[in-house]
């Protein structure tokens, strides 16, 4: 018992580990709540697109000497809005459009990055650098998380209706355009807030896995929100400790733990788990 306690307290003696833990929890929570909507709306890959598209924003913000987060935010939002615009004005499928736009933007960011050679590590943008998080980063992420979480939790019924039946949402007079853009803005903000922790690629996992796990476990939306939050926070905490002892990449460890939970849910979920189904069919 005392030993276990030791295991848990040792990493926390370091200030950078404390900050990393706090960051992981914050990011995990806000991404988890968001993931429920993304998974249901079929926007999982919108997260993919937006997160890649922040690169040119960051690089250009560096050149213009404005805060990198603002650049990242604008880059991400631009991608989302441009996707919608091209979709309304061409005969291409949405997935292809997203692919074109985000790869184009990422390429632009990359070319400028290699030309300008800014002092930001590309690795840190791509893979995150949670151990290097500063107090100021924590504040920034905390504020963004609080704002997005607040918005989502308060308006979750409208958002749910919007995801479920857009035409009806419009019919009862909900401002669907506003909701649409509010979701995109919140998504971009969430990604920006998560970048420092997990980077542009792994944030996609944080924005899908918890929602997908919860989706397998329940068919009520309110339960889904709860389960995904618990799963995400749990994996964040576990990931930080495990990676400390294995000396592995923290972001990657968190994602792998989420994947592991997904596999468990996939096998054992009460109604849809594949092993559970097998057992039921054998008994009857």
């Amino acid at each position: 018992m005392a030993e276990l306690f030791e295991y848990l307290t040792e990493p926390m003696q370091y200030a950078f580990m404390q900050r990393a833990l706090l960051m992981a929890i914050l990011v995990g929570l806000v991404c988890a709540v968001f993931s429920c909507f993304l998974v249901l709306k079929g926007w999982s890959l919108m997260g993919d697109a937006v997160s890649h598209a922040v690169l040119p924003g960051i690089v250009i913000a560096y050149i213009l000497a404005i805060p990198l987060s603002i650049g990242a935010f604008i880059g991400g939002l631009f991608c989302a809005v441009a996707t919608g615009y091209v979709k309304d004005n061409s005969r291409l499928k949405e997935d292809a459009i997203m692919g074109i736009i985000f790869s184009g933007m990422f390429a632009l960011g990359l070319v400028i990055y290699l030309k300008v050679q800014p002092e930001i590590h590309l690795d840190h943008i791509l893979f995150g650098n949670i151990l290097g998080v500063q107090a100021a980063d924590l504040w920034e992420t905390g504020i963004i998380c609080a704002a997005t979480l607040g918005l989502i939790v308060v308006r979750r019924h409208d958002l749910l209706l919007y995801c479920f039946d857009q035409a009806y949402a419009r019919a009862i007079g909900l401002p669907v355009k506003l909701i649409h853009y509010a979701l995109l803005v919140a998504l971009s903000l969430t990604i920006v807030a998560s970048l420092k922790a997990v980077g542009v690629i792994l944030v996609i996992a944080m924005l899908i896995a918890p929602g997908a796990i919860a989706y397998l476990l329940t068919n009520r939306f309110s339960h889904m929100l709860l389960i995904s939050s618990v799963v995400a926070v749990g994996s964040s905490v576990a990931g930080v400790f495990v990676s400390f002892y294995l000396d592995a990449d923290t972001g990657a460890t968190i994602i792998l733990i989420q994947t592991f939970i997904f596999i468990l849910a996939f096998l054992f979920a009460p109604t849809s788990g594949i092993l559970r189904k097998k057992i039921v069919s054998q008994n009857s």
């Binding site: 999982s44 004005n89 005969r91 499928k93 692919g99 184009g104 990359l110 899908i208 994947t259």
Partner: protein
């Protein structure tokens, strides 16, 4: 003038330009199908999913192609399996699997950081690729090219109307598997050219651009292949002057071509659509005036 021809005086540049052009062409052929079927992001997913395989192959010193192929296969199989067994949307499954695989790759690399340069996998570096790897890439592209030449029509029927394809005796299951095998193979080759993060561009943009320009599948494929190869040729060439970033430049060129097509395509472009609506209302007005 001499300066413009300078890249061709280097053996490594010639090889890189040739390989990039060839791979760009084959990827563009595949993109015609992917884009029409709404499978664009499967390509993206594959390119991320092979990262752990490549990392493992480098760690144990095996040919990278094997590692890549193995993990690509595993990823496709798990996507198919989860799709068959749950009600989750396809996009969520794709996103889930590829990020998990990518995280696994990163995790492995972080445990033994010295053996692999992740940056090369993620961003590609065709100008620095060994002759051996170039050979593997060209071989993959060549085989895929020939298979596509012989099967493109059957693939088209299969993807357009599977039940019809079956009734006329096409083995659709085999063709689908063949297609995804080719896709994985070309993704692996493209990985070295533009890197895991930009493969998506190579296997979506040319096809989508051609789709805005053509109405017949045969033409679409030719136009797409042309766009793919020409942009890759010039991308690799230009990157000589810009010190690398080959992948970025290639994809940037393709995106620019796409934007031009999006705006100016004779039938499906932005300008054309505006004109069409105007014409329709004009026509309506005229017929009405005629009727009065």
């Amino acid at each position: 003038m001499d300066e413009l021809l300078l890249p061709f005086q280097y053996d490594y540049m010639n090889k890189a330009i040739f390989a990039a052009t060839f791979i760009g062409a084959v990827c563009a052929m595949l993109s015609s199908y992917l884009m029409l079927k709404g499978w664009s992001l499967i390509g993206d997913a594959l390119s991320h999913s092979i990262v752990p395989g490549v990392a493992a192959a480098y760690m144990i010193g095996a040919p990278y192609v094997f590692g890549a192929f193995f993990s690509g296969l595993l990823a496709s199989a798990s996507m198919g399996f989860i799709k068959a067994k749950t009600k989750l949307r396809e996009d969520a499954i794709i996103g889930l699997i590829f990020t998990s695989f990518f995280a696994l790759g990163l995790f492995m690399v972080s445990l033994s950081p010295t053996s692999v340069n992740v940056k090369n996998i993620v961003l590609g570096n065709i100008l620095g690729v060994s002759d051996e790897d170039i050979f593997q890439m060209v071989l993959i592209a060549g085989i895929s090219f020939f298979i596509l030449i012989f099967t493109w029509k059957d693939l088209m029927v299969t993807f357009f109307d599977e039940s019809h394809a079956k009734t006329i005796g096409i083995n659709t299951k085999f063709l689908t598997i063949l297609f995804f095998t080719l896709l994985s193979a070309c993704t692996i080759a493209a990985l070295q050219t533009v890197g895991a993060l930009l493969v998506i561009g190579l296997i979506v943009t040319p096809g989508a651009t051609a789709y805005l320009l053509c109405d017949r599948f045969g033409q679409l494929m030719i136009v797409s292949t042309l766009i793919g190869s020409i942009t890759c040729f010039f991308g690799a060439y230009i990157s000589f002057f810009l010190d690398g970033a080959t992948g970025g430049i290639i994809i940037l060129l393709q995106t620019i071509v796409f934007i031009i097509a999006f705006i100016f395509a004779p039938k499906y472009g932005l300008v054309a659509a505006k004109r069409k609506i105007k014409q329709a209302s004009e026509l309506l007005r005229k017929t009405r005036e005629g009727a009065v």
